[in-house]
């Protein structure tokens, strides 16, 4: 095979990484390069340095070390039996790319993952080696996210967490049967075992930091995971249930949902056309409802239709409100925070503004209009000094009134 140029490898190995949904570079320990030898800083908030035409943020150099793989997962473009072009970086090449992109302020750091070559341990060692060179030889203080391989030895995964800001382990599919069917080389117990160990280590490291200022940090930005949506027939309720169990059991920072996307050279076991991207969006919204709005997983599942899927035409909070109309209207001058958070169209910020303002005045509809993004959406569900919906919440066509008009084409 003719020698590939660095650019060709980059094209292949970035292309292979584009199906991964996670990208965040936030929530890690603050650090900067003052007093050091290298470059880099992290200040809590990640920075999106560019946006791709698919609307996703580019904050990290997201690549695979190699897309050769000894596994044969059917949803994965890199699986052994796929015919894609293959390439492989040396750890040093990844280090050089990361630094030259970072120095030009293109990125916040590196998100490195890999196909499995030779063995899980060998691959994991290579990933760790990249992080080690960056941190130890170049004193790199930017963000590093390493994807860990659950089949690798716990000790190597542990080392990854000492260099990385975040580690992640993909659960891949929402149900065990889906996993057995589509990722026959993977094992749900093994994945969850690795997650559990990582959680323990994060907690231990936090605890040690409290006692000893110089105790090593372990993945200060925590761990995350990704689930592929639409490759098997798990419905939204099942996915939401799985996500909430993962949050509870493993203290995950984030669960990412990645709509299964048509991949070149797909296995025929994946009959499905791509699921609507909107479905992925609705799942993120339901995730927010649980994390920031005090919804229980069961309540989100209640917002789903008879098939267990969230409606695509309206957001899950509105879907919930339409189903539980007896909870409305909410009096914005009296209701506690929890109830205000249930009002469709009121975000956490708007609720905070309402709570602060009503210590000073009794809110009228005009005031609410200034505090929220869209009064029209909120109005049917609230009352103010000068407004009470006239049984609007009972109107059978309420859904029609609030459903956004069919989406405009995205002209360019």
């Amino acid at each position: 095979m003719p020698q590939q140029t660095l650019r060709q490898k980059l094209e292949i190995l970035a292309d292979a990484a584009k199906y991964d949904a996670s990208c965040a570079s936030s929530g890690t320990a603050k650090k900067n390069s003052l007093g050091g030898k290298g470059v880099g800083s992290t200040e809590g908030m990640g920075i999106c340095h560019a946006y791709a035409p698919d609307g996703r943020c580019i904050s990290l150099l997201k690549i695979l070390l190699t897309n050769h793989c000894i596994f044969d997962c059917h949803y994965c473009i890199n699986r052994k039996s796929s015919n894609v072009a293959r390439a492989r970086f040396t750890p040093q090449e990844v280090v050089d790319l990361t630094l030259s992109f970072y120095r030009r302020n293109y990125i916040e750091g590196l998100f490195l993952s890999s196909g499995i070559v030779k063995s899980a341990n060998h691959t994991m060692e290579q990933l760790v080696e990249v992080a080690r060179i960056l941190r130890e030889e170049h004193d790199f203080r930017g963000y590093i996210h390493l994807k860990t391989i659950p089949e690798a030895d716990a000790e190597i995964i542990h080392e990854a967490g000492l260099y990385a800001d975040r580690v992640s382990i993909n659960v891949e599919l929402p149900t065990d049967t889906g996993l057995t069917r589509l990722a026959p080389d993977k094992n749900a117990r093994q994945i969850e075992g690795a997650m559990g160990r990582t959680k323990e280590r994060i907690l231990t490291a936090k605890d040690e930091r409290k006692r000893f200022r110089h105790a090593p940090r372990f993945a200060p930005a925590g761990q995350s995971t990704q689930m592929i949506v639409g490759a098997d027939d798990a419905n939204d309720a099942a996915i939401i249930g799985k996500a909430s169990r993962l949050y509870d059991n493993f203290g995950l920072r984030r669960v990412y949902y990645s709509a299964f996307s048509p991949i070149p050279d797909a296995s025929a076991v994946l009959p499905l056309k791509r699921p609507p991207l909107l479905r992925e969006h609705r799942l993120y919204q339901s995730d927010w409802l649980m994390r920031f709005y005090g919804f229980a997983p069961q309540e989100v599942a209640d917002a789903a239709g008879a098939d267990g899927n969230l409606p695509l035409d309206i957001d899950p909070k509105l879907a919930w409100a339409l189903k539980f109309r007896e909870s409305f209207p909410v009096d914005v001058n009296r209701a506690p925070r929890e109830l205000l958070l249930r009002v469709p169209g009121l975000g956490t910020k708007a609720v905070a503004r309402i709570l602060a303002s009503r210590r000073h005045r009794r809110l009228r509809l005009d005031d609410v209009a200034r505090l929220t993004a869209s009064l029209a959406k909120v109005r049917p569900f609230i009352c103010t000094v000068d407004w009470r919906p006239t049984f609007l919440t009972d109107r059978a066509d309420l859904r029609g009134l609030l459903t956004p008009k069919s989406e405009q084409l995205e002209l360019f």
Binding site: R7, K18, H49, P53, D54, R103, S261, P262, A268
Partner: protein, 482 residues
């Protein structure tokens, strides 16, 4: 407005700020004016180069001199933390009215200390908006500054960027870049002033022009390759991109030049992705007849292109046992029926000896078409590849869903792969069941043609194992029927 009346009633003051982002001076002057009880409508705030308003025209030195001096015992001026925090940001906004607005709110805060919490107050809202757009601008600067490397005379690399902020944020954001690139030499040039860091000290410079900055950097090519490759054409969402990366920034982002062509090419690229790979087979047939018709038309893998015909499974609907072989052979292909050749006859033999009624079972193959190479006039059997088996699994699963057997017997490694999606070692899995995803039991044994290829003791040994496997299956079937 009432401003004209006030001029006749009392003095009007113009405060000239030394720099458009000098919050400290504004704060100092505002404090003094509040202590002297000067109402907001009698002060105008003028930034360098700005005209302020009507009264600023009187000339800077005169009006500045006339600023009143607060009495020594004047009460202290108070402002909430929240105000200070917002005001610091809002003061950097390019709106010429910002300092007046801040002064008005500071003035009102003396009478109503809780004012900042009244989010519905229009002036409070306005300050929040100003602060927000300044923070956004700063954030975009953190994100969209693109350094280009140039070499200094002494050979050290120097990184230079050109950026066009909306507001007066350059000095305020210098510290961010210093913390991040502490050990690099860099400069950020903007139309509102420039900043330079040499690894030790920060210097400020005059406004710059775009042509003062370098025009390119070889690494940009790599960066553009990355940008083009990481984007998934199957998920075009131009609106989402534009709301975060408005077009006004594009001209200074090397990668943005690619956007139009990426968008234009996306549909074609997605179509190619789908065509080259994920086979769009539509709905899977729900009857055996449907599957039978479909496999004849199927060309999902190269085997279908050979000179052969598809061979469908055979047996009753609801058969408790499903037997899966590898693929049709020469005779199966000619007759269109599974397991009629030599291997089929051997299988029949063993089945009847084990007490299994073949006619009650559903018999089929993992791969529906005969894979062969021509050898003279003969078609020579060739084993299907993993990928071909995986591709054909679509049909095998259709049959399994329709027939719904309680137990599946896979003959050989190919058949096992067709059911499990992975390659297993027969020696390791034979003799006990493996659960399929829906809980159905899968038993795996050797393929009868394997026995045909052996001789002597080896054959006897394998024959015994094969018979034992079949006996175990028969027993298990009886239990399941139980």
């Amino acid at each position: 407005m009432t401003a004209m009346q006030h001029v006749s009633l009392g003095a009007h003051y113009a405060v000239h700020l030394p720099a458009p982002d000098d919050f400290a001076v504004w704060r100092d002057r505002a404090r003094g004016l509040v202590q002297c009880d000067v109402p907001p409508d009698r002060v105008s705030w003028v930034e360098p180069g700005g005209t302020g308003d009507l009264f600023a025209a009187e000339g800077p030195s005169r009006s500045e001199k006339r600023l009143p001096v607060p009495p020594a015992d004047a009460p202290p001026v108070r402002a909430s933390k929240r105000f200070l925090e917002l005001a610091r940001h809002a003061a950097l906004h390019s709106d010429p009215a910002r300092f007046g607005l801040l002064y008005r709110v500071l003035w009102r805060l003396q009478r109503n200390p809780g004012l900042m919490e009244d989010k519905a107050d229009p002036e409070v809202r306005r300050i929040e908006e100003l602060a927000k757009s300044v923070r956004r601008d700063a954030h975009k600067m953190h994100a969209f500054v693109r350094f280009r490397e140039v070499e200094e005379e002494d050979g050290t690399p120097h990184f230079v960027a050109w950026f066009e902020p909306d507001h007066h944020i350059v000095r305020a954001e210098a510290a961010f870049f210093m913390r991040r690139f502490a050990n690099m030499r860099w400069s950020i040039l903007t139309p509102r002033g420039s900043i330079h860091w040499d690894g030790e000290t920060m210097r400020e410079g005059p406004p710059a022009r775009r042509s003062d900055a370098p025009g390119g950097d070889p690494v940009e090519d790599l960066w553009r390759s990355y940008y083009a490759s990481i984007f998934n054409p199957a998920r075009l969402k131009v609106g989402a991109m534009l709301s975060e990366m408005p077009k006004k920034y594009w001209k200074n982002l090397p990668e943005a030049a690619l956007i139009p062509q990426l968008i234009a090419g996306a549909q074609a690229r997605e179509a190619r992705m789908v065509a080259s790979g994920s086979l769009d087979m539509g709905e899977r047939p729900s009857t055996l007849e449907g599957v039978g018709t479909a496999i004849h038309a199927c060309r999902n893998c190269p085997i279908g292109e050979l000179d052969n015909r598809a061979v469908m499974g055979e047996g009753p609907l609801g058969a408790p046992l499903m037997i899966v072989g590898e693929q049709p052979g020469d005779q199966e292909d000619r007759t269109g029926r599974p397991f009629v050749g030599p291997a089929g006859q051997l299988l029949d033999d063993y089945l009847s000896r084990a007490g299994i009624d073949r006619s009650a079972a559903y018999v089929t193959n993992a791969v529906k078409h005969f894979k062969f190479v021509w050898k003279g006039k003969h078609r020579l059997h060739q084993s299907p590849g993993a990928k071909e088996i995986d591709t054909c699994r679509w049909w095998l699963e259709a049959e399994r869903t329709i027939v719904k057997p309680r137990l599946v017997l896979a003959l050989g490694a190919s058949a096992a792969r067709g059911l499990l999606g992975k390659t297993v070692s027969i020696t390791r899995v034979r003799g006990s069941p493996t659960a399929l995803d829906d809980g159905t039991e899968l038993w795996v044994t050797a393929h009868p043609s394997y026995l045909l290829r052996l001789e002597g003791e080896a054959r006897e040994e394998q024959a015994r194992l094969f018979a034992a496997d079949l006996a175990a299956v028969r027993e298990r079937l009886a239990e399941l029927a139980g």
